[in-house]
Symmetry: C2
Subunit: 127 residues, 2 copies
């Protein structure tokens, strides 16, 4: 079920993602909005925003789901929006990287999509 109503809670979440290109974990989002909305609501809004192509998600190193702005579709018809993500081991910040992920060919296999996570130190923590 995609987004069909711009509720106050949806606006709050959209505003947050309007301000940052970072990939934010659900746990953090639930915490950020703990006084504003129920955690179930956070989960449901994120689901709908992802179905609508407004956000995309991936699992980070620890298996935590993270959401970030934009689409990540791989329809054969559509343009490939697949890109890499970065996760800082020190401060935990995660970002989308403008690195397109090439999809390799493997005999007898069909590859539909992929996830690529680079792990290390971000500019802030490295210097």
């Amino acid at each position: 079920m995609a987004i069909s109503r711009k509720t106050k809670t949806v606006k709050m979440i959209l505003d947050l993602f309007g301000e940052t290109n970072n990939a934010i974990s659900i746990v953090d989002l639930v915490s950020i909005f703990r006084n504003k909305m129920n955690k179930t609501t956070v989960y449901r809004i994120l689901n709908r925003l992802e179905e609508s192509g407004i956000l995309h998600s991936f699992s980070d190193k620890d298996g935590l789901k993270r959401y970030a702005k934009g689409n990540q579709k791989t329809d054969p018809d559509n343009k490939n929006d697949l890109h890499s993500h970065f996760l800082c081991d020190d401060c935990g910040v995660s970002t989308c990287l403008p690195l397109e992920i090439p999809i390799p060919t493997i005999p007898d296999y069909k590859i539909n999509t992929s996830q690529h996570l680079l792990i290390g130190q971000c500019d802030n923590c490295h210097n």
Copy 2:
């Protein structure tokens, strides 16, 4: 704490990974051995086998931790064993792929390791 004793339970898990190159989720492993050992024991043995470099792990699409044979170290000194993993959307099987992951350079960032998961249909499910 690495492996120091070859207990019956450790042997059972080593035997299983001796037979397959697949990456198996902890949930499946707990289920496979539910009559043979406690789930806490499964978790602890997997931890130790990973620390010993006998197994390596990664998070799959759903954030589930999976384990497979072999090392995945990236010490600057050691040889880079980083490789891609594959996950079949249909049957759920997961394998290590002999695709080395190139580590890109990003200005001001330091990349230590990476995870690359290809998702699609395996040879069995595709044909």
